[in-house]
């Protein structure tokens, strides 16, 4: 942001808070705005003031307008609406909240920035020293900037635009998407939204966005879309997809050596049952949805995992290993 605008917004906030009463546009013009730039109360000045008001509202600062007299409007910021009141938290509540927000701060993206400012505000009256960083989250910071804009689009219901890389076809295509929701799996972030190019709801992995993300119409005040009734982020996060039974799913039995027995969950197959053996190995019965990915996943365990059945899964696995 330009410095003169920054100074003006801080100045306007500070002036209205300090006066703590209704002030007229004349006074605001005289006290806050640069005389050289805005010598008179004219269209240019009014436009600038309206924009500043909108900007402050977006930041959570409401300038209230009240009719004082015929044709005269008074402006004020109510301190009650501006300042964070003291929230009477018990010591236990304070500690667990501080721990939770510190945990989120490890995400190292736009969520962590928000968690930090929220924590600083909530700890303003009483700083919590306990529990610092004993439980923390760590996300790879690669998606930070794009996630910020996506969350903004999601919050304000604004269409966004970006270039997306499709690995299967190895091309980057420009897309316009109405962002409905965001989810996190295995430390990676995904967006679900209506893709204008394909005209359907799609999932996008955020680190496959190869350009910056832009709000398509940043200055239009109205939202660009409505989120459809019944939109369910959990369903779109792939859990429903994994849970639905499909006759095409291939049944498979796999044996995990004891040291791998906590590793059986994956994204490519449903777990039907698990059976602990006497030697502490584990036999897992799956319904496999994505055979190729499942085979690749099994191979990373080397010889610690063995396919018991079906035979064609064994064949696929050995063919994949190669080494003619």
């Amino acid at each position: 942001m330009k410095q003169d605008k920054a100074k003006r917004l801080v100045g306007l906030t500070s002036f209205l808070l300090d006066r703590n009463e209704l002030v007229t546009l004349d006074e605001i013009h005289a006290e806050v705005y640069d005389r050289d730039q805005y010598p008179h109360i004219d269209d240019a000045f009014t436009k600038c003031f309206e924009r500043d008001k909108d900007d402050l509202r977006d930041a959570g600062i409401n300038i209230e307008a009240v009719y004082i007299d015929e044709g005269v409007v008074g402006y004020t910021i109510r301190t009650k609406q501006y300042f964070l009141p003291k929230i009477p938290l018990t010591p236990e509540e304070r500690v667990s909240l501080a721990m939770a927000l510190r945990f989120l701060m490890g995400m190292d993206n736009s969520f962590s920035e928000l968690a930090r400012s929220a924590l600083l505000k909530l700890e303003f009256d009483e700083y919590v020293e306990e529990g610092i960083a004993t439980v923390a989250c760590y996300d790879p910071p690669s998606e930070g900037k794009n996630l910020t804009v996506i969350v903004e689009g999601l919050t304000r219901c604004k269409d966004i635009q970006f270039e997306y890389h499709t690995p299967e076809r190895d091309v980057a295509v420009k897309r316009v998407v109405s962002p409905y929701g965001v989810y996190r799996r295995d430390g990676a972030y995904y967006m679900v939204g209506h893709c204008h190019l394909r005209n359907e709801v799609r999932r996008f992995k955020i680190d496959r966005i190869v350009s910056g993300v832009k709000i398509l119409r940043p200055f239009a005040k109205e939202p660009d879309f409505e989120v459809p009734d019944g939109f369910d982020i959990q369903a779109d996060a792939g859990e429903k997809w994994l849970k639905t039974k499909d006759p095409q799913d291939v049944p498979a039995k796999v044996k995990f050596e004891p040291h791998r027995s906590l590793d059986f969950a994956n994204k490519f197959a449903n777990v039907e049952s698990t059976e602990k053996q006497e030697d502490e190995s584990l036999i897992v019965t799956y319904r496999v949805k994505k055979m190729d990915e499942f085979v690749g996943w099994l191979l990373k365990f080397g010889t610690s995992v063995k396919v018991i059945s079906p035979e064609n899964l064994v064949d696929a696995l050995l063919e994949r290993v190669g080494g003619k």
Binding site: A6, T90, L114, L299, V321
Partner: protein
């Protein structure tokens, strides 16, 4: 306005309230608390300096500076410094969505967290409907592994100042070792949980992946090795004496796959359409298994040790199925 500007304004007003309250605060400490670089802080201070009412003399305006001793001074801030600005809609959303995800994963103090959330909700009042609508569209699921029992015990040990006796599987030796460790932190990365602890067996701080732990027992602690968490990114091996410089040649499709799965891999294209992949790792054992799925489309150029390991692993997998 973009949320970037809104966040900037929020942060600058927050900074004013912190500096006003603390009276004497060093710039470096303020940077740490606000999570900004010194350069960003200096930019903010400059933007704040001489802001205020346009028609006044400089003496009536907010003055902001970092003095020679590194202390931050903000004067004439008047009302805006009294307390922080109320929570923004976005902050409300992260508190709600983040805490809900944590509570679902069995976070310690879930009950207290839930009642704290209730009190914060009442502060958000009229915006709570919006917060709830947006939170319903964000899912920040934390853990995917089946290690709740271990997490619980680690938290108990952390709280009670106890040690843990664990049976831990080490990939490089393909074996379990018994260790006594002093827990330092429980961390979540890439969807998995890790224990950072002082290891009495190796006499240094180590990171243990929870799903490699076979058994765990809480044991008393005689003396403390209390240490801070070394800020080493989980899962990334730094370049050190023991790290191996791996060079692979792969087809383009496999190269893309590896670039997506191993964030630290450096991929360059070759004139013949193949790609060269470079990875620094301390864990050749893990890599030698991981590369199996690429079959013949991946050739190990160096180190030769890895080449032999992959070859050997292929043989072993085939032998496992009697082929």
């Amino acid at each position: 306005m973009s949320s970037k500007t809104s966040r900037w304004l929020n942060n600058i007003l927050l900074m004013v309230s912190i500096v006003t309250k603390e009276e004497y605060i060093q710039a470096d400490e303020l940077c740490e608390r606000m999570g900004v670089s010194r350069e960003e802080l200096e930019g903010d201070i400059q933007a704040l300096n001489f802001s205020g009412t346009g028609d006044m003399t400089p003496y009536d305006m907010i003055s902001a500076e970092i003095d020679e001793d590194g202390y931050v001074h903000i004067e004439m801030a008047g009302g805006i410094g009294r307390r922080p600005l109320k929570l923004t809609l976005e902050e409300g959303v992260i508190i709600q969505a983040g805490c809900e995800a944590l509570m679902k994963s069995g976070f310690r103090g879930s009950e207290a967290l839930s009642s704290a959330l209730g009190k914060i909700q009442s502060q958000l009042q009229d915006r709570m409907d919006d917060v709830e609508e947006i939170v319903g569209r964000i899912d920040l699921t934390v853990g995917i592994d089946a290690t709740e029992d271990w997490q619980k015990k680690i938290r108990q040990a952390l709280d009670g100042g106890k040690n843990l006796k664990i049976e831990y599987y080490t990939e490089s030796r393909d074996d379990f070792t018994d260790r006594v460790v002093e827990p330092v932190a429980l961390r979540n990365a890439y969807g998995y949980w890790y224990l950072t602890a002082w290891c009495y067996l190796r006499n240094e701080q180590r990171v243990f992946k929870l799903n490699r732990i076979k058994s765990m027992k809480i044991v008393p602690r005689k003396e403390s090795h209390a240490c801070e968490v070394k800020e080493q990114a989980i899962g990334e091996a730094g370049i050190g004496k023991q790290s191996h410089h791996v060079k692979l040649v792969m087809d383009e499709k496999s190269g893309r796959e590896i670039a997506e799965e191993i964030k630290v891999a450096k991929v360059t294209e070759n004139p013949n359409g193949s790609v060269t992949v470079r990875i620094n790792t301390k864990n050749l054992e893990w890599l030698s298994n991981y590369l199996l799925k690429f079959g013949d489309s991946c050739t190990v150029e160096s180190p030769t040790k890895l080449f032999s390991m992959v070859k050997e692993n292929r043989k072993r997998v085939k032998a496992l199925y009697g082929r």
